[in-house]
Symmetry: C2
Subunit: 406 residues, 2 copies
């Protein structure tokens, strides 16, 4: 065997590590979950991967102008091993107004129905005629990448410029929000990083103040997304305040640096952990539906939410059909099966997730296993069309709970 | 539902993140894979978890002295949720000379046969009467923790003081090694981090020079462990040289800091990736056995090693019984099943791993699935006694290949 480099295939987690290294060294980076439209699963005539409007700098030099099409050719290296000669296009003629990356050639391995729900990362370096692209499939790899940048799935489909100080709401609301975040952060005790629970709660409190003049009645689906986005901005502000001075000083050795780096990055990873459950609990409180969280059902099992209560669950006279189970998982592509053994009295499981896009094959398996997905209403479009009918929005789920459990 | 903290259970990866944060903030930290002896699977009369001799500072204030026993009481918080009042003991009387942590009380959830092979992390802060302990079960969580500190399983069972500049070999060899590492690092091109392959190769080259006067014939089992340990020290030296100046300067924002932190830490994670395959290939070259790496067998499958060659694998006249398959996985607790679909002509699979300790239940499953483990000879003792007979050392595996494939 010759003494040259053996090209062993990269395991998925290593691919995630390579994508993180690449994105940190790039001038512009973008990530999104591939939708059925991107992977050709909707059988539309459109080709290639759709790129969000705000992310044009990763594929074009100038923003597209309505009335004309614009394009730019790129050599793209995918997962460090597959090269395509591709084209970025802004479609601005007629009624169209969208950006796409097209021309992946034959034998392109990353645009199949099974790529729906994969995380696609695209990076650009100034002066280079090549883009790097990464397609991460396993849930662990996706979580690894998102965690490195403190992102929840709701913070994707946009550029990775991490310090977006402002929300996308109207200007005076954005100002109010920025001021409230500053006040909150300034009031934190020295040297103590607030828990995810505390940051989640502050997000809801600040959101209520920012939108205090708004007409009520915005549904839970919009509210939970807004909370998730606001919480992200608060987290970044807390991070800056907690570690800003420390990292400004510099480090005598790489060892000392790595010590702090591990602390900061692992805090990012654990951030997304429970914010979802906390927000859902607040939504159910506001909606006035009866529920209990982390109820001990059988053995050591403690499902995320049981409706209407633990007492009813353990009351043998209360019919099974009037109990509802909800698990919450930020991403759930591979780990959804974990919920099947929970809450034996409730064979039909509901699973709330921020996961965007899941393949038809996996959705079929979920359906057969008696699992119904619950997602923010906006996210429904990221699932294959033939499955959207049985996927519930949060508002629909709450209506179901009201009807069934009372 | 009251507005207090919901205590949702920590998923395993979040536990790993918490363990990393804890270990980086501690004054002394130690980790090891739990052995059958630790978990009571050997049914020995010894109680508690064994602690390596060099790791006494994590449980005692003074090194144990032969001839007498010493102990110290500790409150220990396990996985952030379970408290024990435990005792650290040095047994120095009679023929004994060992450190243990004992007294975990009844209902202790982390000392069962199924904890064999879990990664146990123990941390100590100066002035505190409490230790923190973490028990990580899933392979993903274990990899996450090891990756954060750039450790391979061979670097465990010792304190996490990361810059051990010297090897454990005799002094003049250690000096020679340190000098050779410095020379190697000084000769690297500016700003380019060498690949894992290059670092692996330099480890073998430096090892050959350090031990040039030693009697030949040290078996492959010792050699591959020595390479892995040396490679770790080289990696740390390369890291210091590559990032030392950069981190000394300090960072204007947490964002800039996180950028570099992601780069450094993800390099650590991908480090362990292929060094194992590279070292194994070198071992087989030295042993003069015929093999081929990353051969395309069926479809896109490319097993790590096929003996004696791809040509024989695809030669229908060559009997199945004279082919051998070897996969290599640094850890394999959960992912060993991935190899079952590789190399259809060879139903009996061999799997080389640095994993230390696997439960009897999992070993039974492997055995039933036709998988034989191959481990460095020293690691056999980390497996349950009743399974050690069918686990091969690397030397035994090479002998088997010689016998079968020629």
């Amino acid at each position: 065997m010759p003494d040259d480099v053996l090209s062993f295939e990269k395991p998925d987690l290593e691919l995630a590590a390579a994508a993180v290294i690449d994105a940190t060294g790039a001038d512009v980076a973008y990530c999104k979950f591939l939708t059925p439209n991107d992977t050709g699963e909707t059988a539309s005539h459109q080709a290639g991967f759709h790129v969000a409007k705000g992310a044009w700098p990763v594929i074009l030099d100038h923003e597209g102008m309505k009335g004309q099409n614009t394009d730019k050719d790129w050599r793209i290296c995918w997962n460090g091993q597959h090269i395509t000669d591709s084209r970025a296009i802004y479609y601005g003629q007629g009624t169209r107004n969208e950006y796409r990356l097209t021309r992946f050639g034959t034998d392109f391995p990353y645009r199949h129905p099974e790529n729906t729900g994969d995380l696609w990362v695209l990076t650009r370096r100034a002066g280079s005629s090549q883009l790097n692209a990464w397609v991460l499939s396993s849930e662990a790899a996706v979580d690894e990448f998102l965690g490195a940048f403190a992102l929840s799935p709701e913070n994707t489909n946009q550029l990775l410029d991490q310090r977006r100080g402002r929300s996308a709401t109207v200007p005076d609301q954005a100002d109010r929000e920025a001021r409230l975040i500053s006040e909150y952060v300034a009031g934190l005790p020295e040297g103590l990083f607030p828990t995810t629970y505390e940051i989640s709660r502050s997000a809801r409190a600040i959101d209520a103040q920012v939108h205090r003049d708004a007409a009520p009645g915005l549904g839970p689906d919009s509210v939970i997304k807004r909370w998730a986005e606001l919480e992200y901005r608060i987290f970044l502000a807390v991070e800056e305040r907690t570690y800003g001075d420390l990292v400004a000083e510099g480090f005598e050795t790489v060892d000392e640096f790595v010590d702090v780096a591990n602390r900061v990055l692992n805090r990012r990873k654990s951030r997304a952990g429970h914010s979802l459950e906390n927000h859902l609990a607040a939504i159910f409180d506001d909606a006035g539906v009866g529920y209990e969280a982390q109820v001990r059902t059988e053995g050591n099992r403690k499902p995320d939410f049981i409706f209407p209560s633990a007492q009813r669950y353990h009351d043998r006279d209360w019919p099974d059909s009037r109990l509802v189970f909800l698990a919450a998982k930020t991403t759930c592509k591979d780990r959804w099966r974990q919920i099947l053994n929970e809450a034996a009295r409730i064979p039909h499981k509901h699973l709330f997730t921020l996961q965007q896009g899941i393949t038809s094959a996996q959705l079929d398996e979920m359906s057969e296993a008696g699992v119904t997905l619950v997602v923010p209403a906006d996210n429904k479009r990221t699932f294959p069309p033939e499955h959207r009918d049985w996927i519930l929005s949060l508002a629909e789920f709450i209506a179901l709970v009201r009807e069934v459990t009372v």
